[in-house]
């Protein structure tokens, strides 16, 4: 099963390009022996061997070179058992440093796989052996934490099978990895973003949009509703930095034409483990004509909640259970937040019978809410109004029994930041831009609650506030207006219960990921959900609590790959 491509030299590699383009024409027949695209590759046991290398792929009709784990996109799914100690030997067959980070796993700092923080990284043609005692169960994933290798394919799923019986049952179990692939080199994508922040945005406002607003609301109103955006030089169409213009969205390494196929028999309960392994893409996931019961978020079981649709941020995972009643092909449909494309798979009783994708939803338009402005009397775009009643409920801060002392952090205003959320609100009931009042039941964070006894309920000792800041025009990202290379590490005290409040001073969702410790997200009054990645919506505020129980140095960052360089902190627990 393991494909060792460590011996591939440059010449055979070039030959491989030719072979793979032949292979790719028959993607539908991809077998286990196919050196690329093997969405069904699973590894079991306590000792694992992974090879990070270059692989010729064809995911778009054009041959390209990917960086892969064991020659596959996605990499093999690793099956662990809770309570086991696993040993994973990772060989780096690239010409540059590499690494594997085990996203969401609680482990010693030296095993966390972040170059310059956890370890030196894995040098070319060298190996590193990770040893991890598994103290948790659920759906997680792994990816490279070096350069932009995650964009070009170094990621895969982790399934940790629990010791105890799970509080739900199912007949079949599928991993559904979502990702964004580009034939462009990630370095080229980053350069284009630096040279022109909206390079990939082909859904910008046009003169025609303005004239239709004039027609609808009159010139003065149309002009006034544009006023704030114009004065601040901000765009209400600034949804995703990188779009379907260059991305092909993948489901378990399959593009929408080849489709990932999950087979079932009528009447079966199917568990789908959704993992967003994208570099930059948020997906809105639904299976038309099927209700999904969310049973787990970021690997932790939650009170089951039935939805039609959910948004999955970069690096988040959701486990859902579906019970299809008909012998038809159901579309597993994951449209990108900016509606520039989708990943597609079929849940079907017959692999020859594939689903067709539904039409994508209308382009979401950012509102004043997403800018962190006051809600009252604000004119909002049609179809983008929020449920005002629930909003009122959530508008206030989540009541804390007593005041928590805030430790002030250094903050800079100026070139690094173009916007400040003047009135950021908790928007836990808000499913997010483009999903509000769409006629479907859409998951929001307010729906998530960990099963009893999972989350520490110790009252926080202190609080820090992290403002997520950026300058889209110059494509710079930072925390509290200070980018990583200019920032002091964050000091966490071993043994404390720390509350962290995020305020998003940008127009973009940021998936914030703290390594080494759980992020217990406040999703309502006396309601916490245990996560590893927290979406902070544009212009909003959100709080989480952390039991600081892991000494050492940890990474803490926005999981959007091209934001990470600046929107990053080292955390020191001592």
């Amino acid at each position: 099963m393991l494909i060792n491509n460590s011996k591939i030299d440059r010449r055979t590699f070039v030959k491989g390009l030719v072979i793979s383009s032949l292979v790719a024409t028959s993607l539908l027949d991809a077998k286990e022996s196919t050196p690329i695209i093997d969405s069904s590759s699973h590894l079991y046991g306590t000792v694992f061997s992974l090879v990070i290398g270059k692989t010729a792929v064809n995911l778009t009709g054009t041959p390209a070179v990917a960086t892969t784990v064991n020659g596959q996109i996605s990499g093999p799914t690793l099956h662990f058992n809770e309570g086991d100690t696993v040993t994973i030997n990772v060989y780096n067959d690239l010409e540059v440093d590499s690494s594997i980070h085990w996203h969401g796993l609680i482990l010693p700092p030296a095993m966390d796989g972040v170059p310059e923080i956890s370890f030196e990284g894995i040098k070319p043609k060298e190996s590193f052996t990770y040893t991890i005692a598994l103290r948790q169960s659920g759906t997680y994933w792994y990816h490279s934490h070096s350069g932009f290798q995650e964009q070009s394919g170094v990621y895969g799923a982790i399934v940790i099978h629990p010791k105890e019986r799970e509080p739900f049952t199912y007949d079949r179990d599928y991993v559904v990895t979502l990702s964004d692939w580009s034939d462009e080199k990630p370095e080229s994508i980053y350069r284009k973003l630096k040279l022109m922040g909206d390079y990939y945005n082909f859904n910008q406002r046009t003169v025609g949009d303005f004239f239709s607003e004039v027609k609808e609301n009159g010139l003065v109103n149309a002009f006034n509703s544009r006023k704030m955006w114009n004065e601040m030089s901000m765009s209400d169409r600034d949804l995703s930095d990188v779009t379907g213009y260059t991305y092909t969205y993948l489901m378990n390494g399959n593009n929408p034409a080849t489709q990932f196929k999950a087979l079932f028999r009528r009447g079966e309960k199917i568990r789908l483990r959704f993992i967003n392994s994208s570099a930059m893409t948020f997906f809105d996931v639904r299976i038309p004509n099927l209700k999904m019961t969310i049973v787990s978020a970021d690997g932790n079981n939650v009170h089951p909640v039935m939805v039609d649709e959910f948004r999955i941020g970069v690096a988040e995972t959701y486990d859902v259970i579906v019970e299809p009643q008909n012998n038809e092909a159901y579309a597993i449909f994951a449209q990108s937040l900016d509606r520039s494309g989708y990943a597609l798979g079929s849940l079907t009783t017959n692999p020859a019978n594939l689903a067709t994708a539904p039409a994508m939803d209308a382009l979401p338009i950012l509102s004043h809410t997403d800018m962190g402005m006051k809600m009252g009397g604000m004119q909002m775009n049609k179809g983008d109004k929020m449920d005002m009643q629930s909003d009122k409920k959530m508008a206030k801060n989540i009541p804390m029994k007593k005041k928590i002392p805030i430790t002030p952090l250094p903050e800079a205003r100026g070139v690094q930041t173009t916007m400040r959320a003047m009135n950021p609100q908790y928007r836990l009931n808000d499913p997010g831009v483009g999903l509000r009042n769409n006629g479907r039941k859409v998951l929001s964070y307010a729906d998530l609650k960990s099963l009893d006894g999972v989350v520490d309920t110790t009252y926080p000792d202190r609080e820090i506030i992290l403002r997520l800041t950026g300058n889209m025009e110059r494509y710079m990202w930072s925390i509290n207006g200070i980018k990583y290379s200019d920032a002091e590490p964050l000091q966490f005290h071993y043994g404390e219960r720390l509350r962290i409040t995020y305020i998003n001073d940008t127009m973009m969702n940021h998936p914030m990921h703290l390594h080494g410790m759980w992020s217990d997200l406040e999703t309502g009054e006396n309601q916490l959900v245990r996560k590893h990645t927290v979406i902070v919506q544009p212009g909003s505020k959100i709080s989480m609590q952390v039991t600081v129980d892991a000494k050492g140095e940890w990474a803490y960052h926005c999981h959007l790959l091209y934001h990470m360089g600046g929107m990053f902190r080292k955390v020191v627990v001592s």
């Binding site: 859904n203 003169v207 114009n230 030089s233 930041t417 360089g565």
Partner: protein
């Protein structure tokens, strides 16, 4: 022009190294030929307006060059080499030198400029020039109206003012010239867009006495960046 080419080559070579490092703020460079066009006026000019920069998020070196070559005449150009420092989210402050060349003469300037994105999305640059006891002010602004995602109408206006006459450079005291234009481009790619447009250029005051100019003409050209 040769010098310009040399500097361009050096800068591009330097920036090729930037791909190696993967920091949040690597060294990048960008060449923008905003206008390279034929002007259907009496002089039948080939005209250009271009800049290149090399640098980081906050610190860059800019080289600007604009000018025209009449069908039967010598090239006239205005060039600046400046250090550019980001001082506000949308604004850069620049210091450097300028070099103007006309048929008869040339002049060097000291330059202080402000460049950035003004509210309502106006790309704007204002440069103060000091040289030979003269002070010049050159202002320009440009707007981009998206008719579609790829068809873009770009009106622009520029004005030049000077504190005293300089006959050999063809500059007159006071408001010297206003040039207004509108160019309609089609972005085949972001980096590559042919365009057509109209432009009107008029000299005023003493400048008009030295060289009278008041003409409107069509233009056609290419906008390229890389």
């Amino acid at each position: 022009m040769k010098k310009l080419l040399n500097i361009t080559l050096i800068i591009l070579t330097l920036s090729a190294f930037s791909y190696a490092s993967m920091s949040d703020d690597p060294l990048f460079s960008k060449v923008t030929i905003d206008e390279l066009e034929y002007q259907d006026n009496d002089e039948q000019n080939i005209a250009w307006d271009s800049n290149l920069w090399i640098g980081y998020d906050l610190d860059k070196i800019y080289l600007y060059s604009e000018g025209e070559k009449p069908k039967n005449g010598t090239t006239e150009s205005e060039n600046q080499l400046v250090y550019s420092r980001a001082i506000a989210p949308y604004w850069d402050l620049q210091f450097g030198v300028g070099y103007d060349k006309t048929e008869e003469d040339s002049q060097t300037w000291g330059v202080v400029a402000l460049q950035g994105l003004a509210p309502y999305f106006f790309e704007t640059r204002g440069a103060l020039l000091f040289g030979n006891g003269n002070i010049g002010l050159r202002l320009e602004t440009e707007y981009e109206a998206l008719l579609t995602q790829k068809l873009i109408l770009s009106p622009s206006i520029s004005a030049d003012l000077y504190s005293k006459d300089n006959l050999s450079m063809g500059l007159g005291k006071g408001l010297s010239n206003i040039t207004a234009g509108a160019r309609l481009r089609y972005e085949i790619q972001r980096e590559f867009a042919p365009y057509v447009g109209l432009e009107w250029s008029k000299n005023f005051g003493n400048t008009a006495d030295i060289s009278p100019l008041d003409e409107g003409y069509a233009v056609a050209g290419l906008r390229v960046w890389f």
